[in-house]
């Protein structure tokens, strides 16, 4: 049988494509890949699954989609995997985020949280020392100290590009650390709260003083390349980035990178998110059995070893399995420990200081969220670009969120 798999164009996925031969050899099934950029992919698979187009046998989806789709009955439950597969080995946080009522609906291919990556040399030059679990105050101080705009060195690189998966992922997670929340228990938007104002003003001030130019256009990729070129002192972003910034082939600063947990403000929540790219099977596919075989292959322990054998331990898909972090070989990878700690410190079911009706750290797992957050993200991005004040951005965000929530019938 030939499986059609929609996937995102991230490095780990590309690697998986190259290794498909192993799967075909083992099972005799062929695989057709549809590789798309993240936003295009999400739009494509969402259209297809909601219209029941049936074009894909396996879709690459995230923690956001999985519970929503599963609730609509669009995904095949993954509860009958073989014992070898060892479902219990999946990190609990990941498993929790990809399950509905205790049943797994998508198997994590790799998982991530966020953390600080910083330049040890610059930190030293600034006369500071990064604690393992810094506060935002420290991070801000360090960022300002490291900044040297004439040399094109910017103390801190943060996401500014509009998008629910871009700046809003970062800002939502960060706002958790500042005690803010998206909605109160009655689904009332909270952008008019004091906490959000603090969060946004803090972020904008910090970026204006210590961030790179044009930060409002920087997403994960832009920041990654800035950091790799040695232009960032600190960068708070996905844990998977660690393997890129420490890879001497692409990175000019590979040997000068340190890691720390995402900062907090002492309110009890850290600003680190939790995400997994996972493989799910749309309900109604003709090739359910083969698809399950593929998912078991791709998210298995053997697959991790296959990658390690081919590309080295630093390149195996991280963040999915407990066993990986118990592996002696992997422990020598510099960022392994900090990644695990970050993942473990995120709690999607209880993300904020104040109580909320939704699940998800850097998102709220409701269908309307992506649309709303993208628009809110644009307002925040415009505020970062100096086109409006933080207060104006928040007011607009509040209005449009209230509007959309009403339209959706909350």
């Amino acid at each position: 049988e030939t499986l059609t798999i929609a996937t995102v164009n991230n490095g780990d996925m590309i690697r998986m494509q190259k290794l498909t031969g192993d799967f075909t050899k083992k099972t005799g099934h062929e695989v057709e890949w549809v590789t798309l950029e993240e936003n295009v992919l999400r739009q494509r698979v969402t259209t297809d699954i909601s219209a029941k187009g049936g074009q894909f046998d396996i879709m690459t989806i995230g923690m956001y989609e999985t519970p929503i789709w599963a609730k609509n009955g669009w995904l095949v439950a993954l509860d009958d995997f073989s014992a070898d597969y060892d479902t219990d080995d999946i990190l609990p946080a990941m498993r929790g985020g990809l399950s509905l009522d205790g049943t797994l609906y998508a198997a994590p291919f790799y998982g991530e949280s966020s953390m600080i990556m910083y330049r040890t040399d610059l930190m030293e030059a600034a006369g500071l020392e990064m604690p393992e679990a810094p506060t935002w105050d420290f991070v801000a101080k360090a960022a300002r100290a490291m900044t040297d705009k004439d040399k094109e060195i910017y103390g801190i690189c943060l996401r500014g590009k509009a998008g629910w998966g871009e700046n809003m992922a970062f800002l939502t997670a960060t706002s958790n650390a500042f005690g803010a929340r998206w909605f109160d228990e009655n689904w009332k938007p909270q952008f008019d709260s004091e906490e959000w104002a603090t969060t946004l003003n803090f972020y904008i001030n910090l970026m204006t003083e210590a961030g790179p130019p044009g930060a409002s256009n920087n997403g994960f990729n832009e920041n990654l390349s800035l950091f790799q070129q040695g232009k960032c002192g600190m960068w708070i972003d996905a844990t998977v980035a660690a393997s890129f910034v420490t890879n001497p082939k692409d990175s000019t600063v590979a040997d000068k990178v340190g890691f720390a947990l995402a900062p907090d403000t002492g309110l009890g929540k850290r600003g680190n998110w939790l995400w997994a790219w996972a493989l799910g099977i749309p309900a109604g596919t003709q090739k359910e059995a083969a698809a399950k075989e593929f998912i078991q292959w791709a998210t298995s322990k053997e697959y991790i070893e296959l990658v390690a054998a081919n590309e080295g331990w630093a390149n195996v898909p991280p963040g999915a399995r407990t066993s990986l972090y118990e592996n002696e070989n992997y422990k020598s990878v510099p960022f392994a420990e900090m990644t695990l700690k970050s993942i473990l410190s995120a709690d999607p079911n209880n993300p904020t200081v104040k109580p909320v009706p939704y699940v998800g750290v850097q998102f709220a797992a409701i269908p309307e969220f992506a649309g709303i957050a993208t628009q809110v993200g644009q307002e925040f991005s415009a505020a970062l670009a100096g086109q409006q004040t933080a207060e104006e951005a928040l007011a607009k965000a509040q209005a449009l969120t209230a509007d959309e929530m009403e339209a959706a019938g909350y």
């Binding site: 059609t4 494509q17 890949w33 049936g54 390349s225 070129q229 980035a241 692409d250």
Partner: protein
Amino acid sequence: MARAVTNQRKIINTAAAWAIGLLIFFPILWTILTSFKTEATAIADPPVFLAFDWTLENYSAVMERSNYMRFLWNSVIIAGGSTVLGIIIAIPAAWSMAFVPSKWTKDILLWMLSTKMLPAVGVLYPIYLIFIKMGLLDTKIGLMIVLMLINLPIIVWMLFTYFKEIPGEILEAARMDGAGLKEEVIYILTPMAIPGIASTLLLNVILAWNEAFWTLNLTAAKAAPLTAFIASYSSPEGLFYAKLSAASTMAIAPILILGWFSQKQLVSGLTFGAVK
């Protein structure tokens, strides 16, 4: 105006035209150059223009990652097929409008053009549902039909303007010579309009080749053309300028070369009736 143009004038013209031409072309040139650089040289500061170690590694990386030939082949089939299909349907329609005009002709023509103003995103859902019903999702034929429909108004209009330049008397002569409608179109009209048909063909191949909304949304694996290919390169992780350039070059090269070879045809043919 056959007076000797002073060489000085000609030199100024030449200099100005080349400067502007190169300026306009520069983004493409830069992309092509970048595709032969390493990722590190691609972002070198200051940028290097020609003096770098030329490498093909980006092309091999791209080839390794995606099945370029399949995307290319799909693009060729879809763009070519939709155009041919469109021409076959448009020739009779354009014939009618050009040679048997009624008071509605102009309205029909403008109405046809106005169908192009439907915002594609607005009708994606309906079309998707229809495609599912008809089993056309991810098929080349489905895309051919959609692209044909999108471009049909343009094809009809272009052919209409070419046909109008053909003197009606010639078709009447054919009729007097005993030709039926079919013979008239096949033996007289079509061969006479070959240059116009060629330009139409060309323009529509270009438009169909570059169409990115429907080709992306209605395909998955089997029928995906180069627009889908490029969608997987738009923002990979890490340094990507060189790889992006290589992928871009590969996506545009076929049509660019086709366009250049048929430049004359396009220049003389793209009039939309602007020339009388």
